[in-house]
């Protein structure tokens, strides 16, 4: 969304043949933030000012979301990672740290694997990873029924159309611990963003690429990451499992759970999340 955040500038970056929307501010070593579904760069609003005291913060809209383009293809996580790398290159950064949440966490991991020379550290927030040994078994978890729904071609767009708020608000509420953090007006911002032409499809394409992502990640994990990885989740969602999950992909993993927190870490527990990220990226 085009909501303003004090001290940050909105940019439209030409990356290959797509436009990527970036919100940039702060000083220090560069840090790119990659949001999840059904969100946009706006999910980072509460922690961007704190992070910007120590980093040049670049919050992107992923291909398919917010004000970035929604082309017909290129939604596998390696392609989304290429968008992020390209955006950082346009901004003049060849080495940078990465933090991703949800789908953005999958992109962050893909970016770390596909641009080892550029990614200094990676933080992975509250998501299951394609390539994880439990990835396929996880499809049976009733909490991720939407994976299969989103992977279905065409029909979800028709069913969600005009009911973006109903869908998004239910999705948030079912995965929130601190409900005070996501009032209706905030949810409405995400719903309206999704209602922009192409954005519902764009977000669903991230799920339709899962089979490709899983195959890629199985290949990548044969050469584990050597950079430090922070694996962090809400204690009511992925926190209890996320460190062991990431240890399948990397040799140097720290992290765990943030207390009293669901899936929406940067919004439900911004102070604790920012604190953990700053400590990790300052090392």
């Amino acid at each position: 969304m085009n909501s303003e955040l004090n001290g940050f500038r909105h940019k439209s970056l030409r990356v290959g043949d797509v436009k990527i929307h970036a919100v940039v501010g702060g000083d220090g070593p560069p840090l790119v933030l990659l949001h999840g579904w059904p969100q946009t760069w706006w999910e980072w609003r509460r922690i961007m000012p704190v992070l910007a005291e120590h980093h040049t913060v670049v919050a992107l809209d992923l291909r398919g979301a917010g004000h970035s383009d929604c082309p017909q293809s290129g939604y596998d996580k390696a392609s989304l990672a290429e968008d992020a790398h390209g955006a950082m290159a346009v901004l003049g950064f060849s080495r940078y740290a990465v933090c991703g949440h949800d789908i953005g966490a999958m992109v962050a991991l893909a970016l770390a694997f596909t641009h080892r020379e550029s990614v200094t550290r990676v933080a992975v927030l509250d998501a299951p990873m394609p390539g994880w040994s439990q990835w396929e078994a996880n499809f049976a978890d009733p909490m991720v029924w939407h994976f299969a729904f989103h992977m279905k071609r065409d029909l979800p767009e028709r069913l969600i159309y005009g009911r973006e708020f109903d869908y998004v608000s239910t999705f948030f509420a079912d995965r929130t611990f601190n409900h005070g953090a996501l009032p209706v007006e905030e949810v409405e911002i995400y719903a309206r963003s999704m209602a922009q032409p192409g954005n519902t499809r764009g977000g669903l394409e991230w799920y339709r690429a899962f089979p490709v992502d899983h195959a890629n990640a199985l290949d990548w994990k044969r050469s584990p990451l050597t950079i430090p990885v922070l694996a962090l989740g809400g204690d009511h969602r992925w926190g209890p499992k996320i460190v062991a999950m990431l240890e399948e992909f990397a040799g140097d993993v720290s992290g765990g759970s943030i207390r009293d927190c669901g899936h929406w870490m940067a919004e439900e527990r911004p102070a604790e999340t920012a604190d953990a990220l700053l400590k990790f990226f300052a090392q």
């Binding site: 990835w135 396929e136 078994a137 499809f139 049976a140 009733p142 991720v144 029924w145 939407h146 994976f147 299969a148 729904f149 992977m151 279905k152 029909l155 028709r158 069913l159 969600i160 009911r163 109903d166 869908y167 239910t170 999705f171 079912d174």
Partner: protein
């Protein structure tokens, strides 16, 4: 709509007002159970074909069509109990049962709980929780998305409300297991099912058949320890579940015959009514009622 062909009747059984149609002037009774997201309308072509030799009873299942939409009790154990009250209300204490799709789940729950009251079971394009359905639900192995969607909660009703025709059309004509001949069911028939789903409580009820699958799974796992005593005919469709219906039934019954209808999707009662009616009639003729031994209870 040719609803005049089968004037609906009403029968109150327990707390449910059943809507049903009945054809045939005599012969042994057979109850035909429709699947999801359909109604007794699904049997419109087969019911007439069987009526010359059988007393054909075709109800809307609780929650569907014009039958009551109760607040609760959508596990198949309870649905079968209600259906039995309906059958007894009609004076039918021993019946043949044919169930398609989720109607097959109900037919099994009936036959497993009251085997002495079910002479024959016909299981059409279905699979049972605990006995094969889990594979159809496993998306990572090519299973369908709609199990999780239907079970998700209020949001499923919210997304489908007002879009019932799109939804029904999707299922009946979907690429995977949908009709082989997409025109074998007319748009008017699709509309008929859609309008049934538009009635207050209909979507809630129809999804409740899925939300109770975990209960069914544990009930089935208990019942399945005692094989069904009556003859069972399992019918699949080559463009539908194929041999899966027979594979499921072989795990819960010992006297099983199987058949697969060719060039047919998941809805054989509508797509291949002549062939389905012939399979049912031949099966019933070869396995006359009341010939199987009384089960040990």
């Amino acid at each position: 709509m040719d609803a005049e062909l089968y004037p609906y009747r009403s029968l109150r059984a327990g707390d449910i007002r059943f809507a049903y149609y009945r054809m045939g002037s005599g012969g042994p009774p057979i109850i035909l159970l429709h699947g999801w997201p359909q109604t007794s309308h699904a049997w419109r072509r087969v019911a007439g074909l069987l009526s010359s030799a059988y007393d054909v009873v075709v109800p809307d299942l609780p929650g569907f069509g014009y039958t009551s939409k109760p607040d609760a009790g959508f596990d198949k154990k309870t649905i079968a109990r209600r259906l039995r009250e309906f059958a007894h209300g009609l004076g039918l204490s021993r019946v043949a049962l044919a169930g398609h799709d989720l109607g097959g789940h109900v037919a099994y729950a009936y036959a497993a709980q009251w085997p002495e009251e079910v002479n024959n079971l016909i299981f059409i394009e279905s699979s049972l929780p605990s006995f094969g359905q889990e594979e159809a639900m496993d998306v990572s192995k090519g299973g369908s998305w709609h199990f999780g969607f239907n079970m998700a909660g209020d949001i499923s009703e919210e997304l489908v409300r007002g879009r019932e025709k799109l939804f029904v059309d999707h299922f009946m004509r979907r690429e995977k297991v949908g009709l082989f001949d997409a025109n074998s069911v007319s748009d008017a028939d699709i509309e008929f099912y859609a309008r049934a789903l538009q009635r207050p409580g209909a979507l809630r009820s129809s999804f409740s058949y899925y939300r109770t699958l975990p209960i069914d799974r544990s009930d089935n796992s208990v019942w399945g320890q005692t094989p069904l005593p009556m003859p069972v005919l399992a019918i699949g469709a080559d463009w539908g579940y194929g041999a899966a219906s027979e594979q499921t039934v072989r795990r819960v019954a010992r006297d099983v015959q199987g058949a697969v209808i060719e060039r047919c999707g998941h809805y054989p009662a509508e797509e291949r009514p002549d062939e389905l009616a012939r399979l049912i009639a031949d099966f019933l003729a070869k396995t006359p009622s009341a010939q199987h031994p009384a089960p040990q209870r």
